[in-house]
Subunit: 273 residues, 3 copies
């Protein structure tokens, strides 16, 4: 099932419009190409409607937001909604600043998101309307562990229901829910946290997966999470003495480039609750 | 002949001012360093005239244009023209949005470009004044193939004549013409399309090549195209099982770093029509 | 002693706010993660005060400054000063344009910097209030060599005294002084100059080192310089036939990722004058 989602991306080559931060944008583009999609970036308010119109999906990431690009996010989001395109929100740093929290909350009010993907601290901020995120990484106190799993699953399901979006919370254990079912995913490696932007990369890839699989969006979002985590495992297995996070970054993208349905089916580790 | 153009870049270390998109800017900088040039980036209207004045060439790429950087493009272009510097236009996404098409057309009206480099869909848009570019990649219907080659050569020659610029159309087969002669280049690999920004990288490098070879600009532009394509072939030959587009990206830049005149002379595959 | 500074970074995981150029920002983030710190980027004036408040250090790099981000630099700098956070200035291209020189000078007037790190041409510009920097690389005429070392040490000590900041001048020989003592450092390789952004990366890492070692800021700044240079040596020793600057870039970051106190103690080559 998840394997089929990957194959669909390669078959349909979804064009994804990204309004994303300038820190990790190059990796987002290369991951989109690696998984079989096609990226385009545009954040100018006078440009985004045309660009989003020729795309199938829109990925909004607030990682280095500014007044100008915020206007672009709203304009692109509205247009994508109007056209029935897939739209994803990555609320980077929500809870870490008032501007980020406010922007994410207002985007959620005005734009209908198919998926919202963030770490647990960011997602909690969206639920509470305020937060205390420590930078762009999740607060340890919030972490989803085997001990807190039941509560976390219920929390994510509930937020998916009230928001009407698929909610993807990524961390040591990843949760992806549409309000009814919740994928609990255990792929990945802790060393991925030492590479900048694996979350941003996942958001870009997830937009492509959901765009390519409009009839099974939940499975597609979960497949993207498994692909990223499994690529992290495969990439790590190819590391040699002296390698570090820079080489690891390339190895993960390489593993996504070589991912096929069969490899994903075999390697995906998840349960549905 | 083409080999000499590479050697000239290494001898003269041309300083190139880039107003380029934030997606591929790091790779553009590293490719400029790899080929023997020196990059500097500046897009603020109050900064660009000073910066372009100390450079030898100017590379304008509209890939993530916005109102502020568009103003910078015009200011830098005018200054570079005034000083007789080499100026190149990379009309990324012309045809994909009205803003991109309009900006590219207006830049062509106001600035004298030594070279315009793009894919066939972008270049057709510049000729027609409108287009239907599919994102930042060329439309398949437009592709230059052995079957459509004669017409494409005539088209590129004609546009070079009317525009007064060297026109470089890159794709499976690359065409570089000054209106009289047309280099038809068959270096490169299709897998290069799975890396973001090989076109942007080429534009940066081409600016350095033309700047370093002011008396044979056409040959220099063609040499840059051959260098990129040959580096793509050399880089691919070094790929190992499990490698993908991230590693390939580095291998190509590495191959440019190691390119010398002799290697290029031996590896360049082109005819002049 | 220097080894201890590295270990402190890994123990305390300093969160560093970076207002930096979009050319090298991804590498800055990955280097910060490699050395044990945690990066966050924000340049919007309405966002920077909140972000800098949750961080321990602030790294201001003017490499692709614009009117909007300049306002962010001042706002963040003032806030960081108010909170007693470590603040570093990297005056990229000071001397190459009036805007860069003016911005760097005004930042120095308004903000109290713990460290200023640049190449010799940039630092000379800050002393003189004007300059003739050739792009973003140091002018050869300014270079710190064994012949000019005595004068350069005196110059750097003097500027550290008058500015009240630790001054780090990096090049073939690196100098780091607080006005009393001057570390003269001979780690590194000339090939590092063929990678874009090793200076920017060092500035990010240095901010983390100084933030993690508040009681020995001079040693921490010197340790960061030695770490970068030694990583350049280790990375170079792992290069293979056909490798170039792209692979070298990754190898250096990898070497930082694997750097520990013992390796640094053994590999650091410096004297204190």
């Amino acid at each position: 099932m998840l394997g089929n989602c990957v194959e669909q991306v390669r078959k349909t080559v979804p064009l994804v419009h990204n309004i994303t931060n300038y820190v990790t944008v190059n990796d987002v583009a290369n991951v989109l190409l690696a998984c079989g999609g096609s990226p385009i970036m545009s954040d100018e308010v006078k440009d985004v409607e045309d660009i989003t119109s020729i795309c199938g999906g829109l990925n909004i990431n607030i990682g280095t937001l500014n007044e100008r690009t915020i206007a672009g996010m709203f304009a692109a989001g509205r247009k994508a909604n109007e056209l029935g395109h897939v739209v994803l929100l990555d609320p980077v740093g929500a809870g870490a600043s008032a501007l980020r929290t406010k922007t994410a909350m207002e985007l959620m009010k005005e734009i209908r998101f198919d998926v919202i993907r963030g770490n647990i601290s960011e997602i909690k901020t969206l639920v509470q309307g305020s937060g205390s995120t420590k930078g762009v990484d999740a607060d340890i106190a919030d972490a989803v562990t085997e001990e807190t799993l039941d509560g976390a699953v219920a929390f994510v399901k509930e937020f998916a229901k009230t928001s009407g979006s698929i909610i993807a919370v990524t961390g040591a254990i990843d949760l992806v829910s549409d309000g009814e079912r919740c994928f609990v995913i255990r792929n990945g490696r802790p060393e991925m946290g030492r590479i900048t932007g694996t979350g941003c990369q996942l958001s870009g890839m997830m937009t492509a997966f959901v765009t390519a699989n409009p009839k099974q969006k939940l499975e597609a979002a979960a497949a993207a999470v498994c692909t990223m985590g499994l690529a992290g495992e495969i990439g790590f297995s190819r590391m040699q003495a002296g390698d570090g996070n820079a080489t690891y970054r390339s190895r993960i993208i390489d593993a996504i480039y070589n991912m096929d349905g069969e490899t994903l089916e075999k390697g995906a580790r998840y349960e549905v609750r």
